[in-house]
């Protein structure tokens, strides 16, 4: 097995407004991660792209913007567990995958914000609610569920949700979202270095 492929980091997004967040964090991580490491960084235009990249992946870090009102400016760390996205907002140390997997089941009922999806205007409910919409109807949760059904799901999936407010085509990235790009990359780097040092 090619160990380089074992940890996959994917920024989901588009070129529009705060929906760029996933791509920009992926770009930042690609710059920071050392050559020859066993991390692979990719950018997805639509969540369905993910399915092509999951072979031999043990850990998936997914970065996407969220359209969320009233959830503050903080980046949210979420854990995919048995068909649901569970909140797991902890310090970098506490967010080690081995610990994060023990997110409480009661968290599933938490009201969570919406992922912005790969293009502006796409909204994906992460906990409950109707299925999200994306290319041909496949949202990030849909794609993860499909991967689960077909046995392609990595052992650990961490979603980094970056709050945004501007998703119109051609819009500039908001200052709030811009501030979170390097911060998110640093958090992910810290988590990777703790877990895989």
């Amino acid at each position: 097995m090619n160990t380089r492929d074992m940890i996959l980091i994917v920024g989901v997004g588009s070129a529009h407004g705060d929906d760029q967040a996933g791509w920009l964090v992926a770009d930042e991580l690609a710059r920071r991660l050392p050559d020859g490491s066993f991390f692979s960084v990719r950018k997805a235009s639509v969540p369905l792209d993910l399915l092509d990249w999951l072979g031999n992946i043990k850990v998936l870090h997914l970065i996407d913007a969220i359209q969320a009102s009233g959830c503050g400016e903080n980046v949210r760390r979420l854990q995919w567990n048995s068909g649901a996205m569970l909140p797991c907002e902890r310090s970098s140390d506490e967010c080690r995958p081995d610990r994060a997997e023990r997110a409480p089941a009661s968290s599933r009922d938490d009201k969570l914000p919406e992922l912005a999806g790969a293009r502006s205007g796409l909204r994906e409910t992460m906990a409950g609610g109707p299925p999200g919409r994306s290319s041909h109807g496949f949202s990030v949760p849909d794609v993860l569920r499909l991967a689960e059904q077909t046995g392609m799901l990595p052992e650990t999936i961490v979603v980094w949700a970056i709050p945004g407010s501007s998703f119109q085509p051609g819009a500039r990235m908001s200052e709030q979202c811009q501030n979170n790009i390097c911060r998110t990359a640093t958090q992910i780097m810290a988590e990777l270095s703790v877990a895989y040092a």
């Binding site: 290319s135 849909d142 499909l146 077909t150």
Partner: protein, 439 residues
């Protein structure tokens, strides 16, 4: 006493684009039916103007994330005609290889995740995967192989960047393509199994008197080149396309309807049309499978387009393997050209059907005008007419069930309404007195 009946489906998936369907019924009679496409126009033809012609393949690829190659191929062939460029046989084969990749990924996705669920009352590909994990996984792998080919040859799977006017910016090395052979050998067998699987589905007994239209080439299954033919005997050069077919604006759609000029009648493009008009140019393996599953042509049942897609995936793998095995790196990867004023047009076969492009250029290599007619524009009116025929057969007191059956027919076309949003909304009106049972 009459009462309006309204059905609204808020979040349909498995259709590319944003549109809706509005139906007004009087008893079992459809009084009005509109496939309403309400996305804002995207103005690609407008903003191509004054751009360097070299930008066209990359810009038009952005029209669609599922079939960017179709836009690139149609664009470069039209521009090369305008420039008087003749591409080499090596470039021509490499372009067919690229198109094979697109057919594989697009058809693989539609067969397994978009249309197949309709045959098992599954709400989605995810639900289908619970019952058919092996088949859905196989479909995903087939799609991935198509994307792998696009990535190697096009530079990336979505919106490839290696296609240039005159050829390719870079011809791949032999070993880059050779690496794909083992997985494509698996893919050919998997495509055969997938086609056998879908051929075993239970299909509605529904046929329509289609006029089928496709590109046709005497020596090969149509992709990049040929004349335009129809099931009624039409055979024209691509240059005559606009004298034969014309787009019309309708109030309920921001996408134009393309109809035949002679009688403003609709027509059908797509995999069924291609196979009906070019069956004998399928590869031997696809022909053998077609015979084995008793797929007779002409096939006029739109739901059986899923079988046609399967046969085309077999063909695409077979042809791709042939090209991959024989491939040698070559130079030049791009034929040079001088700017000259002129215009050119081309028709190629997108996964969803015939696509037509025409461009004008000036002596500085700038685009003076552009015209792009995608397959779904050509199928729109045909879908509406199909639904008018289909509705009385499936009309149910259960609104949702009727709506589902309408969507099922629409999905069989794999419409690419647009690539910017993904949402079909369906509303329904019928005098309450005409309904036999309450929903």
């Amino acid at each position: 006493m009459s009462e309006n009946r309204t059905i609204r489906v808020e979040a349909l998936t498995r259709v590319e684009g944003e549109g809706g369907l509005h139906v007004r019924l009087n008893g079992n009679v459809v009084e009005d039916l509109q496939l309403t496409i309400y996305e804002p126009p995207r103005f690609f033809e407008g903003f191509l103007r004054c751009r360097p012609l070299e930008d066209v393949p990359d810009i038009t690829a952005r029209i669609c994330g599922i079939c960017p190659v179709a836009y690139q191929m149609s664009a470069v062939h039209a521009l090369e005609q305008a420039l008087g460029v003749t591409i080499s046989p090596e470039i021509r084969r490499l372009r067919r290889l690229l198109y094979c990749g697109e057919w594989i990924e697009s058809h693989g996705l539609h067969m397994h995740l978009l249309q197949a669920p309709d045959f098992f009352n599954a709400a989605s590909g995810i639900e289908l995967a619970a019952t058919f994990p092996h088949e859905v996984t196989r479909g995903l792998k087939l799609k991935k192989l198509g994307n792998d080919l696009l990535e190697v040859l096009g530079g990336r799977a979505i919106h490839p960047i290696n296609v240039a006017v005159g050829g390719f910016y870079r011809a791949p090395k032999r070993e880059e393509l050779q690496k794909l052979i083992p997985s494509f050998e698996w893919g050919l067998q998997a495509a055969i199994e997938a086609t056998r699987w879908v051929a075993g589905f239970e299909f509605p007994d529904f046929e329509r008197p289609y006029e089928m239209i496709s590109v046709s080439h005497p020596d090969e299954y149509p992709m990049n080149e040929g004349r335009i033919v129809s099931s009624s005997g039409l055979m024209i050069d691509v240059a005559q396309y606009e004298q034969t077919f014309a787009e019309h604006h309708v109030a309920h759609s921001t996408a134009l309807h393309s109809l035949k000029v002679a009688d403003r009648s609709s027509y059908h493009v797509g995999p069924l049309a291609r196979i009906n008009l070019n069956r004998d140019r399928l590869c031997e393996t696809a022909l053998r499978v077609a015979d084995e599953i008793d797929f007779s042509t002409p096939c006029l049942n739109p739901f059986k387009a899923i079988i046609a897609r399967g046969l085309e995936v077999i063909h695409a793998f077979d042809e791709a393997l042939s090209i991959l095995r024989d491939y040698q790196s070559f130079k030049p990867s791009r034929i040079p050209y001088e700017y000259r004023a002129g215009e050119g047009c081309a028709a190629t076969e997108a996964p969803r059907g015939l696509i037509y492009h025409r461009y004008g250029i000036d002596d500085q290599g700038k685009i003076t005008f552009a015209k792009i007619v995608p397959p779904t524009s050509q199928n729109q009116r045909q879908i509406e007419l199909d639904l008018i025929d289909w509705l009385p057969r499936i009309l149910s007191p259960d609104d949702q069930r009727t709506a589902d059956e309408c969507e099922r027919l629409i999905r069989s076309y794999d419409p690419c309404i647009s690539c910017s949003t993904h949402f079909l909304k369906l509303t329904w009106e019928q005098p309450r007195a005409m309904i036999e049972h309450s929903p």
